[in-house]
């Protein structure tokens, strides 16, 4: 999944935290409005929470098969209502969920999932293997146009069969290591043919027919406003999965990050994300900073280089650009220190991440200048005029200016800025009509397979760098098809090392966000949370307060 660079949420750049400066006005208003009644901090029930998971607005659909990648936030709701064969725990290990166990055939091409006998839908019906077969077939049917089906297609699924009511078999064309991760994606949740066929287009829009087998169910859907979740009474604790402790969750659909943050300040949210523009203000605020929790996730931001454009086709030039950036300083200056500097592609928390990898790309102004001179551009002389492309927006502009200034400072090269509307930016990337641009990758599931072939492979759909190395592709293919994770990680380590050597992208930082959480709320966070806390909502605990 590509991270979004549009600055969707800061249309209204007001610094709400500087409320204190408006005291004179407030006093005036107090005189006008005597009956000041506090509406804040009154929660109806102690175990009810309000949170803005749907920060991209009304979900397009809550049909698990059809959720769209552009609005993956809606998965935050689907994941509560449905339980796939496996589910990721807080360490992002796929754990038995609707299945109580699974076996892999010795050649790695056949997965047999054994379903729990006590799995129940919210209407009391048993969860059965044919319901999984129905769902996976529907997902893989091109007529459904399911965006997330690509993961199931690229896994090379040959057939899916319900052998009996509790046995579900997946056959693959060739071994595919991350299949358990795929089986843990919400898109492959079971579906009830009777429910879907009774109202093909509308079953997922009506809480009455939106039955699931997960820990929560939708009790109310007020369009454009909120969705209410309550525990599914038919759901029983099993394996590592508890019954939810929360009695009700109000999921808001506020698209403005500023407005959501304001709602937290006024007491209408139990936890919320801090908008970029407010990071420093919150960290320096005596009341708010104790509530702040920095979280990083499986998203790496990098600067992507068009490796066929002169002089970026020279690896030495790419390495010089990488060594000219002080990651620690730019994380401090551009993200208020919330992000984590990085020198390699795989972020911490991903299997295969290596802390020490990429040291040769670390900040070294002298070394960078030497490399540039070696490439024939001593002190930047004769360096062609390149452009840094970015989508319009204040945050992107500030970042692009910052990078260009550092390169000028350290290497003496003059790189121009090229701002464009997001659609044009996407097009420039797809057509490789750019020199230097922002880029990055967010894990779709916590397996390194997701990070190499699609992004850096010669045929990769997201390889915007025109980077193509047959030896890299071979290494990655071995990693994707080997059986044991330990074996696969050896190949992925080789691939990571090659990316550090070839520098198609300059890794910059791992995304970090700042969360504000009420003192009485305990979240269980994973590095894969689209909205922090939305992954393991069944583990969120509200203490008496």
């Amino acid at each position: 999944l590509e991270p979004r660079f549009q600055n969707l949420f800061s249309k209204y750049g007001f610094r709400l935290v500087y409320v204190a400066r408006l005291w004179p006005l407030a006093v005036a208003a107090l005189l006008v409005l005597p009956a000041a009644r506090g509406v804040a901090a009154q929660s109806a029930s102690a175990r009810e929470v309000t949170v803005n998971f749907l920060n991209q607005g009304e979900p397009d659909t809550l049909d698990p098969n059809r959720t769209t990648s552009a609005f993956a936030a809606e998965a935050g709701v689907v994941r509560q209502v449905f339980e796939p064969l496996l589910r990721f725990d807080e360490h992002l290990v796929p754990q038995p969920a609707a299945a109580e166990s699974y076996d892999v055939s010795p050649d790695g091409t056949q997965y047999t999932f054994h379903l729990r006998a006590d799995g129940r839908w919210s209407d009391g019906q048993p969860v059965t293997a044919p319901q999984f077969e129905y769902s996976w077939r529907r997902l893989l049917d091109p007529a459904l146009n399911a965006e997330y089906a690509t993961f199931f297609v690229s896994a090379g699924i040959d057939s899916v069969t319900a052998v009996d009511d509790l046995t579900f078999v997946v056959r693959l064309a060739e071994p595919f290591g991350p299949l358990p991760d795929i089986a843990a994606l919400w898109v492959g949740s079971p579906l009830r043919p009777d429910v879907v066929n009774a109202n093909v287009d509308g079953w997922a829009a009506d809480p009455a027919t939106y039955v699931g087998n997960g820990p929560f169910m939708v009790s109310e859907w007020v369009h454009q406003d909120h969705i209410a979740l309550v525990p599914n009474p038919a759901y029983v604790a099993h394996g590592v999965w508890p019954v939810p402790s929360l009695t009700r969750v109000i999921v808001r659909m506020q698209t403005s990050a500023q407005a959501d943050y304001a709602a937290f300040l006024s007491g209408d949210r139990d936890w919320a994300l801090v908008p970029d523009a407010e990071l420093n203000a919150v960290l320096n605020d005596a009341d708010l900073s104790p509530l702040a929790q920095p979280v990083t996730d499986l998203t790496t931001f990098w600067i992507q280089l068009n490796t066929v454009h002169q002089p970026l086709n020279n690896t030495i030039v790419r390495r010089a650009l990488a060594k000219a950036l002080d990651r620690r300083a730019l994380v401090r200056d551009l993200t208020a220190g919330v992000a984590a500097p990085t020198l390699s592609v795989l972020p911490p928390g991903m299997p295969g991440h290596q802390d020490a990898l990429g040291a040769e790309l670390d900040f070294d102004p002298e070394g960078a200048r030497t490399l540039l001179a070696q490439a024939g551009f001593a002190r930047g002389r004769g360096f062609p005029k390149l452009a840094f492309a970015y989508p319009n927006g204040a945050v992107n502009q500030r970042r692009a200016e910052y990078f260009v200034a550092r390169w000028r400072e350290v290497l003496g090269v003059d790189i121009g800025l090229s701002a464009m509307p997001n659609a044009a930016y996407q097009q420039a990337l797809h057509e490789r009509a750019y020199d230097i641009a922002f880029g990055g990758w967010a894990a779709d599931y916590p397996d390194p397979q997701d990070w190499f072939a699609p992004v850096f492979g010669c045929q990769g759909a997201y390889n915007y760098y025109a980077y193509c190395s047959p030896s890299f592709d071979q290494t990655v293919a071995r990693g994707d098809t080997a059986a044991a994770l330990a074996d696969r990680l050896v190949y992925y380590a080789q691939a990571s090392t090659q990316l550090v050597r070839d520098v198609p992208v300059i890794p910059v930082w791992v995304r970090g966000r700042l969360l504000l959480v009420r003192p009485w709320v305990q979240l269980t966070l994973t590095a894969q949370d689209d909205f922090p806390g939305s992954y393991l909502l069944d583990r969120v605990v509200v203490m008496p307060h």
Binding site: A26, G57, P142, N145, D225, A263
Partner: protein
Amino acid sequence: VTRFIIRRILWLVPVLLFVSLITFTLMHLTPGGPWDKDKPVSSQAVANLNARYNLDKPAWQQYVLYMSNALRGDLGPSYTYQDRSVTQIILGGLPNTATLGLLAAALAMLVGIPLGIIAATRQNSTLDYAALGFGTVFASVPSFVLGFVFIILFALTLHLVPTSGWGRPENYVLPVLTLGLNQAALLTRITRASVLDVSRQDFMRTARAKGLREFLLIRRHMLKNALIPVVTVMGPVVALLLVGSVIVEQIFSIPGIGRLLVQGISQRDYSLIMGTTLVYAFVIAGLNLVVDVLYGFIDPRITYR
């Protein structure tokens, strides 16, 4: 009067056809289509989708198909919200936009007209200057600034009302103030100017010379004449309130049709754009009709033909 109204209602048909035709043309001329997303969609999928939404047919056929369905109240399937029809979506949002718009219109009238009259009858007094100041400030501060100032002041500092949301009475306060005060300012200025204009007329001097009490003078002679321009602007004012709600709905996250229109445009959801535009056009044309009819009650000199 009945014949006038019937004729005007019949006129709505060509007006709506014209609006729909322009919207349809502009929408299809705008670069980018509903399937241009960050993630590339396969050509097979695009073909399937185009067939489902009739986009594979020539443009004129699409238009004719759409309009014939629209006449039967079916505004088509939404491109974004796959599980609901546009008619359902709009019917869900319209009551909220209407509530917001009507409350704001009521506020605008209740504040703007009396304030304008008071200001004019006490011209150049402190009260007049205060009213003028109100009129200038709230007419010039855009709603996305005013909305956030109100949030900071009333929600975050004073904790009187919630910052956003919809459904409970306390949710209505800030959006209605934000939307209504701007138009109240406009009405204040227009009422004041119009009352001043009328009060300088000869018949006012005559009435005053006859010794009519000031209250009766204002009520019988001045208001009736002074309110004609005010009624004229009420149509556009209510229309502005409906259109202005697009921004206010965003700020306060109100589930109305203004937000739907904005989302529809940014996601090239053709049927949602057409549907919301037609509803807006219908409401605005209808309001103008109401205003035209109201003229007759205020000014008997106006006849309907």
